[in-house]
Symmetry: C3
Subunit: 396 residues, 3 copies
């Protein structure tokens, strides 16, 4: 059967520790574990394309907790839950008492009596999101051990202050499919570069997630940004270490052109300086609205000095044969379309629209695969049973 | 089996073009296609009444996008989706970036990776709702052709600026059931009349939908309103053309009494003048709040001159044997109950409460039938399979 | 089979009247009916623990109407619905027209075409919540009789102004499990006492629900509060009558220590005086914001005079062997943790955290059991069929 291809691939990987575990940061997972996510994501897509139900749950809840607005990730999470048979229940904090300390543990347990999965997005404040997720995960782990919860809900990080693993993993799947396999990535160059946007304060988790993940596959990862737009130092260290281990390279530059030079892949995207985000977190903590306004003004002025950081046709010409794969997590700030001056010119964006949408289309499968590997004790057996069961997703 | 009755009826109809197609306006669909909706709606009701599951989806999403508040249509859409096995996922625009132009295409694709159906209500601004829906439908059609989407989500118009097909189709089912079949409608008179309400700005899509649909069945459709409350000219033309083609009549009058005279069915309901709604759309576009307030004041004053447009017992006496079927899309403005002076007097409303509620009860089935016909390649076979499968909806 | 234990217990009880009926107040139900809820809740838990699907619905809606914010009850309701196969559809009143009188009947029918269950929380205004629920239940009963609704949605009171049955029933299950069976409760003493909180206006339905229910089992129910914090007189009468009938006792005191003395169970919790809540309801009705502010100030001042009503270690020492079971509906106001001075000291709360979480964990099962008994004609047969069907909840 077609499913055997995926089962055989899984058989060659070690990923047993993913069972009953959470997914916080890609660099906490082994390469085999990341590969297992890609294989299961492809397998779930195979099932769907063949109209075979991938429901492993007859009932059960997937709790979603979005501490920021979200369309793409929200729908991806809902799609992933639905694909596996779970019902999403939103934890709307406006209507709840989730706060700090003691209460996190309590609410985490109170909403999890029937929860198989918890998905959290909390990316706004430096030093908060990841910490909060850890606290939730530990709380439900404790609840499970105490017999409070009958199952151990596993947590999927839908974006924190450090990493955005469902995004970077979907991006990586796009790259793998584009280049025809992980084995073809060695030596490829990816430019993760800052780009100008008329807004400010875009999360760091995307560039951090990209350099933290792409450095695992023997690629040359070139991080480029104007001076002052440094990302989190500890993630740079992770990227450097990864690159060394995988036989790749991690380089830094303050020139967009240098990064684009001979690149196979470019990922130009605005983000806020890490130091500024740290400052903003403190200002928010102090309720210092004047301080926030002043900071915002300062950051916009700083941004305005770098309008030349745009992914133009000229920039694209610098890349490998002028044909690098352009990537973005969407929505992009497109010059003359969604804003006056932005991250990318309209003609480049238009040429890559279809692949960009396909890039985004991997996310529901990546999330579902993370859930699948966390919940199933023997994923190969479960995939086999789904294919053998051959229940139609749609009978019309 | 009981289901054969419905299958046989479908066998006599041509509706193949509905497969993978959207439902925007009733007058874009052939009479056979409309009849197919009624038959499938009845068939789904038959299944439910016999406790047979009508789930054709084991999983999948139905995206809902309500750009206005809604209770009835929201619940009808949720019910229809649930009946077929789909999970509703709301696209809350407060939390999304859906806007104009470029972004519509992008968001439409981003939310549709697992979407089988998209339902949209967007009726507030003249020249906007229908256009927006077309744009969404074209976007996902393109996405499907490009391989971005694995299935082609079909769009159901849950109310636009031009038509309210799920309402008018449910209303029509009520009429068909009341008079014992479509074949009995020839020559029947329906009065679609304006009625006074203390509010202003009620959508035109209801009267437009009614005259645009009811004129298909050989009935006499009498449109009545005070001078100045004209509906969209192009819909009047549609109604006139329909009436000519179906051997019916489409008449216009500025007298409620004239319309009620010998009517078999009356549908008295407030709406705003089309010209005023066009004006309001422009004012909103310009953010002209003073202009909007002035217009509102003007419209309320205009309304106040027509308080005699009320469906009273005396008015009802003018109808065929004084027993016309009173209809309304609900909620009605009931004199002395929900307002001081309104569309209908309490005694008339009370006498028709039960049939009014039944009228509303057709809507979930109509929406489900639209989805069913858009998704199923061979609806007769699928209905047969559901009946033969005989899975209980409820096993208690 | 393991399920037989529960079926046999049900066979010994009379609860036929629960079928197609609503659940408003525990004291409207016979002792056998309450016991049936406990047995079915345990049976559903048994199924879940054995990974056997408890879905009795293949599709269908559970309407939720939360007129106040809620996390715990909202998730419990969602969990219960999901466990049985129903999809929750929220009736968000901000988006609906539910109001008073005529409209309640209409909206209740409009949202219920596919509704199997309606859950309502409406506890804010004295004399309103229970009345509203009755009106909704009567409306859908009428709709069902008229043929408007194809099934009769049953109502579950998720908290009203009089009772909080899903809370008190879950609390009671906790007590039953703690003491090893209903038969062991005779003569046990439970102290339902007021406790200080820095907030005001906490609902009376919890203490009322507790004294109204716990008095059914031959226990000594000691209600304690400072002078002026009287609960609803008619509920006190219910408790007294219950106690007499069950061979228990119902006592009242204005001393926390007296209530704690030799208690087997303590339930210290803040609430607002009934008379003040009546006053507030009138002020809200009149839109008297100044009056509300004045009342709030007065109540906070009144509260401040009773900071000694705290469940401290010293208080706990007064209880039976110093080891009473500490209970709370959560979230509690914990001194030094969630507030400066509160209902309970941190060390007592911490010692009982695990049992408190377990107490809360009964609620989804209690709600599911109420739904199950209202919907299933022969619950024993349905439980047997579920166990025999042996469909996995999760196949991974």
């Amino acid at each position: 059967m077609g499913i055997d291809k995926y089962i055989n691939r899984l058989n060659a990987l070690e990923f047993g520790k993913m069972h009953q575990d959470d997914f916080f940061l890609t660099w906490e997972r082994s390469l085999d574990e990341l590969k297992a996510v890609y294989v299961v994501a492809d397998a779930l897509r195979y099932l769907r394309e063949n109209n075979i139900s991938s429901r492993i749950f007859d009932s059960g809840l997937a709790i979603s907790n979005f501490r920021d607005n979200s369309t793409r990730t929200r729908f991806s999470f809902a799609s992933a839950a639905n694909m596996l048979g779970l019902t999403v229940q939103d934890l709307d904090e406006g209507k709840s008492q989730i706060a700090h300390g003691e209460t996190v543990r309590e609410t985490a347990n109170m909403v999890s009596f029937m929860a198989d999965v918890i998905g959290i997005r909390d990316d706004m404040y430096i030093g908060k999101g990841h910490t909060y997720m850890k606290e939730v995960a530990e709380s439900v782990e404790q609840g499970y051990r105490d017999g409070v919860l009958e199952q151990r809900p596993t947590l999927v990080n839908l974006q924190c202050d450090i990493d955005h693993p469902t995004q970077s993993m979907a991006d990586m799947m796009h790259i793998i499919h584009h280049f025809g396999g992980i084995e073809n990535l060695k030596g490829k160059k990816i430019a993760m570069t800052w780009a100008y946007s008329p807004s400010y304060g875009k999360p760091l988790s995307v560039p951090q997630g990209i350099v933290g993940l792409m450095s695992r596959f023997g690629m040359e990862v070139a991080l480029a940004h104007p001076k002052g737009y440094e990302i989190m130092g500890e993630v740079e260290e992770v990227a450097a270490k990864n690159a060394a281990a995988s036989g790749g390279k991690f380089t830094k530059t303050n020139s967009m052109a240098e990064a684009f030079k001979d690149a196979d892949i470019v990922y130009p995207k605005s983000w806020a300086p890490f130091a500024a985000m740290e400052k903003r977190t403190i200002l928010y903590g102090n309720g210092d609205n004047d301080g926030i306004k002043a900071l915002e003004k300062e950051l916009l002025a700083q941004n305005a000095g770098h309008k030349d950081w745009e992914c133009t046709e000229d920039m694209m010409k610098l890349t490998k044969e002028g044909k690098a794969l352009y990537m973005h997590c969407l929505p992009a700030d497109i010059t003359g379309v969604s804003c006056k001056e932005g991250e990318v010119c309209a003609s480049v964006f238009d040429r890559y629209r279809e692949p960009l949408y396909k890039e985004a289309g991997f996310k529901p499968y990546v999330i579902a695969a993370m859930m699948f590997l966390a919940k199933c004790k023997d994923p190969q057996a479960t995939l086999g049973a789904l294919a053998a069961g051959n229940n139609s997703r749609f009978i019309g």
